[in-house]
Symmetry: C2
Subunit: 903 residues, 2 copies
Amino acid sequence: MADKRVYFFGGGKADGNAKMKELLGGKGANLAEMTSLGVPVPPGFTIATKVCSEYYKSGGKWPTGLADEVNKNLAKLEKAMNAKLGDPSKPLLVSVRSGAAVSMPGMMDSILNLGLNDEVIEGIIAKTGNARFAYDIYRRFIDMFGDVVMGCRHEYFEAKIDAAKKKAGVEVDSDLSAEQLKGVVEEYKKVYKKHVGSLFPQDGQTQLKHAIDAVLESWNAARAVKYRQLNNITGLLGTAVNVQAMVFGNMGDDCGTGVCFTRNPSTGQKEFYGEFLMNAQGEDVVAGIRTPIELTKLAKVMPHAYTQLTRLMTRLEKHYKDMQDMEFTIQEKKLYILQTRTGKRTAEAAIKIAVDMVNERLIPKKEAVMRVEPEQLDRLLHPHFDPKAKRGVVATGLPASPGAAVGQVVFTADVAEAWRDKGKKVILIREETSPEDIGGMDAAEGILTQRGGMTSHAAVVARGMGKPCVAGVVALNINYKAKKLNVGKLTIREGDWISLDGSTGEVMKGKLGTVEPKMSGDFERFMRICDRIRVLGVRTNADTPEDAKRAREFGAEGIGLCRTEHMFFEGERIWPVRQMILAADDYAAMLSELEAAEDAKAKKAIEKEYATAKKQFEGALKKLLPFQRDDFVGIFKAMAGLPVTVRLLDPPLHEFLPQDEASQKEMARRLGVKPAVVKAKVAQLHEFNPMLGHRGCRLAVTYPAIYRMQARAIIEAALKVRKGGKKVLPEIMIPLIGAVSELKLVKDEVVDEINAVFKEKKSKIAYLLGTMIEVPRAALTADEVAAEAEFFSFGTNDLTQMTMGFSRDDAGKFLGEYVNKGIYAADPFQSLDQTGVGKLVEMGTKLGRGVRKKLKVGICGEHGGEPASIDFCHRVGMNYVSCSPFRVPIARLAAAQSVVRNA
Amino acid sequence: MADKRVYFFGGGKADGNAKMKELLGGKGANLAEMTSLGVPVPPGFTIATKVCSEYYKSGGKWPTGLADEVNKNLAKLEKAMNAKLGDPSKPLLVSVRSGAAVSMPGMMDSILNLGLNDEVIEGIIAKTGNARFAYDIYRRFIDMFGDVVMGCRHEYFEAKIDAAKKKAGVEVDSDLSAEQLKGVVEEYKKVYKKHVGSLFPQDGQTQLKHAIDAVLESWNAARAVKYRQLNNITGLLGTAVNVQAMVFGNMGDDCGTGVCFTRNPSTGQKEFYGEFLMNAQGEDVVAGIRTPIELTKLAKVMPHAYTQLTRLMTRLEKHYKDMQDMEFTIQEKKLYILQTRTGKRTAEAAIKIAVDMVNERLIPKKEAVMRVEPEQLDRLLHPHFDPKAKRGVVATGLPASPGAAVGQVVFTADVAEAWRDKGKKVILIREETSPEDIGGMDAAEGILTQRGGMTSHAAVVARGMGKPCVAGVVALNINYKAKKLNVGKLTIREGDWISLDGSTGEVMKGKLGTVEPKMSGDFERFMRICDRIRVLGVRTNADTPEDAKRAREFGAEGIGLCRTEHMFFEGERIWPVRQMILAADDYAAMLSELEAAEDAKAKKAIEKEYATAKKQFEGALKKLLPFQRDDFVGIFKAMAGLPVTVRLLDPPLHEFLPQDEASQKEMARRLGVKPAVVKAKVAQLHEFNPMLGHRGCRLAVTYPAIYRMQARAIIEAALKVRKGGKKVLPEIMIPLIGAVSELKLVKDEVVDEINAVFKEKKSKIAYLLGTMIEVPRAALTADEVAAEAEFFSFGTNDLTQMTMGFSRDDAGKFLGEYVNKGIYAADPFQSLDQTGVGKLVEMGTKLGRGVRKKLKVGICGEHGGEPASIDFCHRVGMNYVSCSPFRVPIARLAAAQSVVRNA
């Protein structure tokens, strides 16, 4: 048995079964399984995948004994069919197909009608009385064999039939007469001879040997190798080869062929679904020349076959416990099933089928959650383009935030807002976006950038807003001055309409029709199934009450990351922020000057300057306080009863200053200083590597008053909302911590301010104080850090940047190449690098919990919404993941799947 | 005994000894030790350090029993001295001094002559017949007690004696008569009363209680606390209090006082060294009003005391086994030793003394290497300013590269080179330097930058060149256009002379005199002692044959880091480099276009373009090959017989392009392209965080031909030099590796090229191929990486940047604050952060060696020359450290010390 290389199936018995995919490939295993089930499958045999590996090891030779085994099985097949390869009186025709354990495009598909030759043709004509049919399958066979097996290009054959049609004055192949087709056969043989260099082989055995070799060779065809590389498919032995008796749907009017689904693959409805063509071969259904007929109509045409088919459908679905996609052929009223496999389906259908099958007790809940791809859900939550609309793609970038957007082009955030206010729909196009563009991004239907990757500012913010975004369209050549862009030879100007597909990264000229998403009751039911299974909590990243509300509707169980810097930009607030920045530096510099001052006079002068700067600095912060407090009031209300993690100010201060000269002048005017002062401040705050610069808690080390103001705003808001009768669970998060001493210092300031608020208000509220773990050092020393932190939230965006040494703003230029060349399996900003960054996450979690057993651990990087990363978080034992509102359902599903997968 | 708080010493017996520093402080322990040795020390007692901690715990109260113990010991002291506190007939006077286990400025120094009052004075006059002496010590005591113990400022007293001198018409204190001094005493008492608010205490016990309290309080004086913070001194109980009988060197002409060293502290010569003053108190020696007399002359003045002193010096040095710094007083011909301690010495002296003491068999070799501070050596290797020269410091920055430099100011590298060629000495001043400035830096005597930290480009390159550099002088305001700079109100123009002290960070106007370093035979001998002890290898970071030669002279055992990018800048080479960069991108872009091209025509067009770009790209590389090869020939020759680690190209390509418009135009002209092309390329290569950008091996992933050229140059050079009869040990190092798959990919290219060279030349040479570990991920996955690497070299500069999230170009702005606030004990770019970054280094080493037992591990970051970091490398078990040439001796010493310290 160990030496067995060929597996027979036929007559209700099979050497193999469905579990032998590894050895027989998916198709072969399924053919065997169906045969054993008594499904009418044309008999045949499967050459096992291990032959493929032996074939390559020996440099392209058949292993000893294989030829014998093939011959024996061929004889068995001939007996089963009562026919013989090459025998004109009772000819056996076979198909030869590839089939690996994993479905894999790029390999040889199939050779049909193998066994035909000049003599057999005569036999078939004699037997069927249908010369047209005979010559048609013969010429198809020569073409297919020549093209697929011998590498003689299909075009050469195609030219000949085109000539014949022209000569005959007909349009379609099927209008050629038997005689004319016979001529085509002769022409095909000549083409074969000319390009292959030998006569078309008349011997069936030779044909079969060549076809089997061709299947084996196709395993290492460039396309197949590339596909395996791209999809990281390794460890397979090779492809199996399936040799199966032919049945014909095109032998006459009592013949036909079709495909059917056990449930509707578009809607998931429990109904028989499919289509068929009478007197046709499979490829005719695909070719679309004749319009196929709806499956249910088969009941009228061939009631017996229909009844038999529906019974088989029910049976196979029950057997495989999943919706089946089947191919069938009726030859002279006899039904044959050629293939059954798990049917592909839309997201909507996947959900309905999963929910229905649970209700039907066909599958358990844990199985149901595995039946929907988390990424599929994305499509359900965003509008998308009408699939029938013609797409005039002018450029392609990264699918940075899913959904469809249509609007008029604008190039600045200001114009975007102005046009939106006039009721226009706009698409904001920028080389890159910065926090200054937030208003414009909010005003736009979608965002398009020339630079930046999947986790660029534009991408992150757009996903948070649920707005379509295509990022990193390098082909764009933007001219802000001229308000236009060039892409190739095309020019797009301000006001022109374009359409963005954020799910594919495509940019299209003009207005494409869109389809709004529909969410069914099944969706809710499915999500509840997920919730019952999953262990991981799912929170959301939300900075506004609107986002918080939306995320809550999507099932978020709290906010895992509420960024406060966006609040610094809105409307008039930017002015006190900028005033603070202008004063901030003097304030700090003077403090140290003061300490160093030696004589009393110098001291006094500095003290005076210091007092002025301090007043300005604190005055600016005082102006910000009510804004921040109101923001938090809104968010706490929206998230009443659920925890809200607020991250204190994170970005470097220079992000709040205008970069162009005109805006700098405007700032100077508004704040009553000389333009040179603003310019100097911008220059002074310039950083070579802002990612690694003066930001996060480092700002609070220099300017403790900023975090104090924020802590006050949070606690005052929490007390206020609680007074209104709502439960508030604030969690204050300090970003960019690298050392416990740093956390301690900043935390002490924050706690001191909070205690002051408690004292003033004569009221207290419970809160947690924790830190983001995003600097590798913090993860490495998490045992120390945990002593001062009540929770950890892994900021895997920055942790990835620092651990791998990639700037996410720049790495887009070469990360694609890294993935293509297989250095990393995926873009580490999209899917967590589990080996490297993950090691730090695991280490940080373990070290932290070693010191503080009940340490709450979550993730708030972009990875919190990505299924593979969520699986990792589950395995590490985190308490929750946090992701953008629109990814909350995806995370709920992925978290449930992780439980099943890791059971 | 556990309750014992006060330790007596006197009469040849002592309760304590030298080992009880923790409890008695350094001074107290030493006084006890000397007493036991029979050294004539004035008797006294020491209040233990634990009292200080009890005092603070109880809020400033003496612990129960202390007063009794003090009284008992005072009685013992009175008995030993046959004198009594406050007894005019036989008065006891004492000194009260602080003294912790670690020498610590900032605490109270001493109160002398305690016990004086109006009655005692009369007794002293009666006893000594010296009223002038009596009133002088009385007025000194009131001043000292008022100032130090009661906080009545010294100036108030000073004003009174000044008035008295004016009135008496004399210049110096000693010209005041007894009567006049008596008047001063009265004035002093009034001052005391006015500012302290009570009469000057006449009771000796009260004086003593106050003085002891003052010593205890001084432990927490602001200056003392700050000193402990800055020097990271923790875990001490507090200060001890030493109460000791006074002896007087100023009681007449048979009295005197002095300091002496058992060896010459400047040169290390074995000779008695010191100075003394007859009829004087210690402070007179320090005050410098009278010129002290050379010690040897004491032999003539008081032969007995001199003989006794020299015997004691010899004895104490033998006892303590180190050069002693002693204070002595002769009272009425009787010699007293007041203090002995290990003497401070110059680097030169330290080395000589260590070597001599080994030869004298006084100390073992392992002890000798501990006697020189590694950092002291730095001064020996660089010229320094004449210590007598007056320094007009105009600004201070970071001491980025040690040594003294004097030159005329220039603001551009070009001018620096031009002026040097005319024979001028120049100081190059830049806001920051870039690789373009190398030529100018080489031409300059020293470098001064406005921005950047201790590991900025300027600092690193300057240290490599052994040139003084002061970096990050933020006070500078440079105006390149006007060729001048402002610092405060001062303007410095091109051509002005300035002086830089790279060891202190000081910038001075004008030309200061310098002193050249001298290296003695003892230096060589000392280094050989170090070499015999150390386990760590010491290599150098060197990019040129000159540097390599110099480092070898300093004892380098190979090159640990030879950067190749500097070679890309020199002279005419920059042009092919720039040509390559212009072509490089098209080349890569086209390759992927080519892959994507669908129809044959498009394919052909791209193929043609591709061929052109490729030709240009490879043509440029071909031009570079001979330059690189020659560079390596020079370096391999200089390092014949020793390993040379060559790092393949590391910086991002944009560093090779000019940033200002004029230079971009020049580049366009030279390379025959439009200026817009250059501008576009600069824009395209711009990165937000270049530190995390497209550089290191990432360049080779995109453009394998670059590393291929470099590998070829290295191997061709190695073969050539070997042909010349010299041994070459090339080690090729691939930088910025993050994953083993990345290393494998790049390594395969490099090895393929090397094998091609072997084939062409029909000759082979052994080489190693390894990687820099500088991306945290590489350290985390070192077990994987080691499978492909024959050596690891920790690039701790970048590893620190990424692990801690600090950009070394930017962090200078706030890292000082981090160190001041105690978040990090030291600047992590200067001294390796052992807790965080060190954890990765240790993990990387262990994981790597777990897979490849004999993995060679080294460090090539700046830390390789820093003693504490070297100690860490020793403990981790590295094979070698690598540092800049001038730090090689420091590293050799530090490595030896590590062996002793960790034995």
